[in-house]
Amino acid sequence: MVIKKKERSSWRSCQSITSNLEVAYSNLGKVENFEVSFFGLSESSSFDDFHQLSQKIQNEEISHVAWIDHYPHPGQFLRYLKSQNLTRKPTFLFHLFGDFVLHSPMWKGVASALASDFKVKLICASYKQAELVKSLSEGEEGIDVIPFPVDDSFFHYNASLREEGRAELGVAPGEKVFLYTGRLSYQKNIIDLIKAFSLYLKLSNDKARLCFTGPMDDLGIPYIGKEALMGTFYFHWQECLSSLPPEHQSLIHYLGNVEQEKLKLFYCAADYYVSLSCHNDEDYGMSPAEALMCGLPCLLSAWGGFSSFQKYCPKGVRLVDVELNDSRQAPLLAKAAQGFLSLENGLKREDLAERAKEEISIPAVEKKIAKLLTEDEKYFSGFNAKFYKLSSQFISNPTSPFRSAKGGYNHFYLELYELYCGGLL
């Protein structure tokens, strides 16, 4: 049985993730001979809903329950199910999202259920996320990696779309188009990206532009209690642009928050996808995943989920080292500019797209899920002392759990997230 939220997530990336996982599980029923059913829970689910669900699990003799959404948190349902004293307990598969650390108090609430009352597998979207979760667990077993799938029937490379997209953007012959998609936010190091691009332009003679598409937001850095008024990010965006040499200002284009069809057009039209995000919730990266499915080579920070993409597509992904200290988590400017300079030309888009498809398409993820369901008998053994320390940071200081006395990141944060730095290869 697959459990997901009834209502659509407010996070665009999570909307895609959940719907693609839903298709992957649904296909298990058609292709891999599993019997798959679905159940929707809302955030305001009542005990009546839990009762219905637990009855279905019992009556239909469900062997596995897969939780494919980040809301509602499974904690309440697990506590309810534990109280039912089921004769046959299903194995739980929880697909973890970037908010795993944020929700550590909720996971703490069901720690004993996860460790001893049920057989549980925690499915991480990337290798670095798995390392992080393992560092918070008693053992490494029952913690697996299955990437979030991308719909390859929609995101794929198309040469005529490339021409169309470049015509729409007015791209000159020989001009390189670097593309960022996703949230434009302090959390995504957008200002660093613009400055790195400007430095790259100074160092090279390339004709190039940097395009951004996605919503602007003013989410600050909640982990250290930094909030921003609405409109602040746009102010800093303007200030950054006006600090650049005039000839570079006209090469930074904000295209707006476009719909999916346009997004695909721009992925095909662009020459490289770029992101220097070092956001603590960067467990995966749907944007670079979509870009790779369109055969778009990527320049990414060596951070979190991004490093998995280099493992999947070694020739198509270049990583830039990041600097992590109490006041900053971002790539060094010079290294980032060097990254721009070192990007390879001449990679065949179709080959890169095909390589990505083998790892992160819906059919590829389907196979990984099937393998996990049939071959792997190792289960999660519980959280360790470090996890309990983590959850207490959020319980005691929910508005700034990782803030140091000086206002930056505290040592515990640095210790936790240094695992996110660096590549895998």
């Binding site: 919503p215 008024l229 609405m230 602040t232 102010f235 303007q238 904000y254 295209l255 928050n257 476009v258």
Partner: protein
């Protein structure tokens, strides 16, 4: 003609940014008190602060004119009630050098003594040059209204909602009760009756909540209470505009002359001019206020309560009297 260089200087550069930084740290120069809490809360979410180089806030937050003098300019989000109250509290600018911006439609309220310190704004849609147009032709009509201010738009409702008449709409409504007055006996049934009355004007109404609203360029909205007495610059409108939604009443930037534009998002700007357009209607309203009602010294205004910002009981905090509010509603309803 407004000096273009002056607005660039006032809103950009290190000195301007430093002032804006201080402006946004209200605890340094304008600490929040119970008056701010009561009225800010009553008008939420429209009164929610947002960042802008124009330094927007409400005049009820001003504790002294001296505190403003550290800024080259500030923008008043006020509707008629608060703006009029401001002029009653401060009949002349004294030593104030700060330029205050108020909505162009309230220019007739500015007394002669203040006219040298005021300039006028309106919000306009101004798209960043690289924005890609959306090819999705599906438009959602969004009507925004405050159910606690029914009096303001009940009269001439049909005329006010004309742009959406007969259409399918999404309705974003708010119902706030003033802190300290929550024990009063509000006639809540009136709201249900009004909603029924409202439904006759549209083909369908879908209620939507503020937390559900995601905005986007496919929204065309009408914030009815922005023509009302409490506010002219709503955070709700600002949020929608910043996501690409269109204010159906906003004038096109191409039609505007004689002013300067200050952008606040990739999708919208404020148009600033040092003179407001005057016509027979605004002259008539001006005469009504200053010659007939003899603001601020006329009988209608002498009985206004003194504002005591130290009062702790929210029930006893009255920034304006009920007759004053009614008068503002009357003046606001004049053509």
């Amino acid at each position: 003609m407004t000096d273009v260089t002056k607005w660039q200087k006032w809103t950009h550069g290190n000195s301007a940014n430093e002032e804006t930084n201080i402006f946004n740290r209200k605890s340094m120069w304008c600490e929040v008190d119970r008056v701010d809490e009561k009225y800010g809360e009553f008008l939420r979410p429209h009164s929610t602060p947002y960042f802008s180089r124009l330094r927007p806030f409400f005049s009820y937050e001003i504790k002294s004119l001296d505190s403003l003098n550290q800024f080259t300019h500030v923008l008043l989000r006020d509707g008629l009630v608060f703006l009029l109250k401001f002029f009653q509290r401060f009949p002349d600018p004294g030593h104030l050098q700060t330029i205050l911006l108020c909505h162009k439609d309230l220019a007739w309220v500015v007394p002669e003594s203040w006219q040298g310190q005021f300039q006028y704004y309106e919000r306009v849609q101004q798209l960043d040059s690289h924005l890609v147009s959306s090819e999705n032709g599906v438009v959602k009509n969004l009507l925004i209204l405050d159910l606690h201010s029914l009096d303001e738009f009940r009269e001439n409702l049909e005329k006010k909602i004309l742009p959406f008449k007969g259409e399918k709409i999404e309705l974003l409504s708010f119902y706030n009760i003033m802190r300290g007055e929550d024990i009063d006996n509000y006639d809540r049934a009136e709201i249900l009756e009004f909603k029924e009355e409202l439904s006759k004007h549209f083909s369908s109404i879908e209620n939507i909540s503020w937390s559900e609203l995601q905005g986007g360029s496919h929204y065309h909205f009408l914030n009815l209470n922005e023509e009302g007495v409490f506010y002219r610059d709503s955070f709700v409108s600002h949020t929608l505009l910043s996501s690409g939604a269109k204010d159906i009443r906003a004038r096109k930037v191409e039609t505007l002359e004689g002013g300067d534009l200050v952008s606040v998002s990739p999708y919208h700007s404020f148009f600033i001019s040092d003179k407001a357009e005057e016509n027979n209607d605004s002259k008539a309203k001006r005469d009504q206020l200053f010659k007939i009602l003899k603001f601020p010294s006329g009988d209608m205004f002498l009985s206004e309560p003194q504002i005591d910002r130290a009062v702790e009981d929210y029930f006893k905090i009255n920034y304006y009297s009920e007759p004053f509010l009614k008068l503002c509603q009357y003046l606001n309803s004049l053509p």
